[in-house]
């Protein structure tokens, strides 16, 4: 069995989005329940959240944005930049704890205290831009983790795989010009889904040309197409890039029963995707992979999906 870390902290429930918002604390409770009920907790290395040092957040986000976000919370404002981004007074602190927890997790992998880890965090991150909150995201968790890996641990090539059903516009834009971080995303076609980016022809720019890859999938499609497209696009991309560490932007909203998208993946398909990622981590990255929760809104399906996801990570 692999030494798998599990980042979860009850303070992640403090970020309130009001009633009727899909990105609710219930999601995380469902995730935790899935793992607890399956009896996995004793076999996992529990990791508690710590607030991030602001200097790491500044590696990705503009200082003005960080301060603007903090100030909005202090003033008790209930949204930031778009009405989608509902928040409360605790949102800023929760977002700091999400980033801090993930950096702590990454550190434990680098110190060889664990082999890999799943981070059950809120708020999610992949839509967050350098100076803007977007799509329920405030700090780009995965992007900050990538910079931390490079600057604190000397990792030269970080591979990011984003299988949330929405395109990670923030992550893509942050690394668009950077050939040291490869961003791969498979998602519902942007003409039909939020946020309207992640088209096939978006492949990075300047020195980063060829280090961004998008696989848009048309609505109504499912396992068969995902399987073929991931084999066609992701596998050769990472063979070319040879990532030394893999960060997964993990979303479960492509599930058939998740009403945030028109993609219809089965529960089993998410297991298959994670097995592929584990294989890539073993081949190129000494097994080093940290999976960070993004979307996934079916409270009914999340417990099983997350349990399966973590079980794949624990399996040698």
């Amino acid at each position: 069995m692999r030494r798998t870390g599990f980042l979860y902290d009850e303070r992640y429930l403090l970020h309130c989005t009001g009633s009727c918002h899909p990105e609710s604390p219930e999601r995380l409770k469902a995730a935790y329940k899935g793992i607890e009920d399956a009896g996995l907790l004793p076999k996992l290395t529990r990791i508690d959240a710590v607030p991030a040092q602001q200097r790491w957040i500044e590696k990705v986000h503009h200082i003005n944005y960080i301060l603007r976000f903090e100030e909005a919370c202090l003033l008790g404002m209930d949204e930031l930049d778009y009405p989608d981004n509902q928040m409360c007074r605790e949102t800023y602190d929760t977002a700091m704890l999400a980033v801090g927890g993930i950096l702590e997790t990454v550190k434990m992998v680098m110190e060889d205290k664990i082999d890999n880890a799943f981070c059950a965090v809120r708020p999610p991150g992949h839509h967050a831009e350098v100076n803007k909150a977007m799509g329920f995201c405030y700090f780009n968790n995965v992007a900050i983790a990538a910079r931390y890996l490079q600057e604190e641990w000397g990792i030269e090539r970080v591979g990011i795989v984003d299988f949330d059903v929405h395109h990670g516009n923030g992550t893509q834009h942050i690394f668009e010009y950077d050939p040291t971080v490869y961003y791969y995303s498979i998602h519902e076609h942007p003409s039909f889904a939020f946020p309207g980016t992640g088209r096939e022809f978006e492949k990075g720019a300047d020195a980063g040309q060829g280090y961004t890859l998008n696989t848009p999938v048309l609505p109504g499609q499912g396992d068969r197409e995902y399987l073929d497209l991931i084999k066609r696009d992701l596998l050769p991309a990472f063979e070319f890039f040879q990532p030394e560490f893999i960060l997964a932007s993990t979303g479960f909203d492509a599930h058939a029963e998740d009403d945030m998208s028109d993609i219809k993946l089965s529960t089993e398909m998410f297991t298959w995707i994670m097995k592929i990622l584990m294989g890539l981590a073993d081949t190129y990255a000494h097994g080093r992979i940290v999976s960070v929760l993004e979307g996934g809104y079916s409270i009914q399906r999340l417990p099983e999906l997350i349990k399966n996801h973590v079980e794949v990570m624990m399996t040698p």
Binding site: D84, A193, P195, M260
Partner: protein
């Protein structure tokens, strides 16, 4: 939506004595396809397109044979000899709609924009119009498109806009188009949100059909079972 907001105002121009090689290089450097030809006082007298230049130039294959000698000859060829004199122009007070219809009708790539005295004020090309249209659609903002089938009668759009507004969602744009079903129209709001499910449900509950753009498309895809 007047075109002076969308046109290119810092226009690269040439005089009629400019030679063809200079004109070609100017287009290449600035990545443009139209060069208005003006008098020293700014009065428009013609336009040169990249097609005019290509048809006036010898073949690139020929170039290889005797480059220097050919270039010397071409330097004698001035724009006045092959430009389109008195091109179709428009005024800055024309609207985007005028320009769209006119460009489709005249099948040209750009219009020089001139004032009443015939002096060049700008140029509006197909590219400028595409940019204006992207701005109108607002698709540079994060959001998603919804398709709703409605009866072709007064008041439908109001109900839809009200229902969406109640959910505190902003509109990027709204398109209304004909639908192949008789007596129906299709409304396409581009909504600046990631949270579309409750809106879809609400509209369905109100009796609207949400268009699934993939329904007809999927039927045409090759299936590999």
């Amino acid at each position: 939506m007047f075109i002076d907001r969308s046109m290119t105002k810092r226009v690269v121009t040439i005089g009629k004595e400019t030679n063809i090689l200079e004109a070609r290089d100017l287009m290449k450097e600035n990545r443009i396809r139209h060069l208005p030809v003006v008098e020293p006082d700014g009065k428009l007298i013609g336009i040169v397109t990249d097609r005019d230049i290509r048809s006036a130039m010898p073949s690139t294959l020929q170039d290889e044979l005797n480059c220097e000698a050919v270039d010397d000859k071409l330097r004698q060829v001035t724009v006045g000899r092959f430009m389109t004199p008195d091109p179709i122009t428009i005024r800055p007070t024309y609207t985007i709609q005028d320009a769209l219809l006119l460009i489709q009708d005249k099948k040209v790539g750009a219009f020089p924009v001139v004032d009443e005295a015939g002096k060049l004020k700008g140029i509006i090309s197909v590219r400028d119009l595409i940019r204006a249209f992207i701005n109108v659609l607002n698709i540079g903002e994060p959001g998603m498109l919804l398709g709703i089938l409605v009866e072709d009668k007064v008041g439908q759009l109001k109900r839809i806009v009200d229902a969406i507004t109640e959910e505190k969602v902003s509109f990027g744009s709204v398109l209304v188009s004909r639908h192949w079903e008789e007596g129906k129209r299709a409304v396409f709001p581009y909504l600046l949100t990631n949270n579309i499910a409750p809106i879809k449900k609400k509209l369905r509950d109100m009796g609207y059909t949400i268009l699934d753009p993939m329904e007809w498309y999927l039927d045409q895809l090759p299936r590999h079972e």
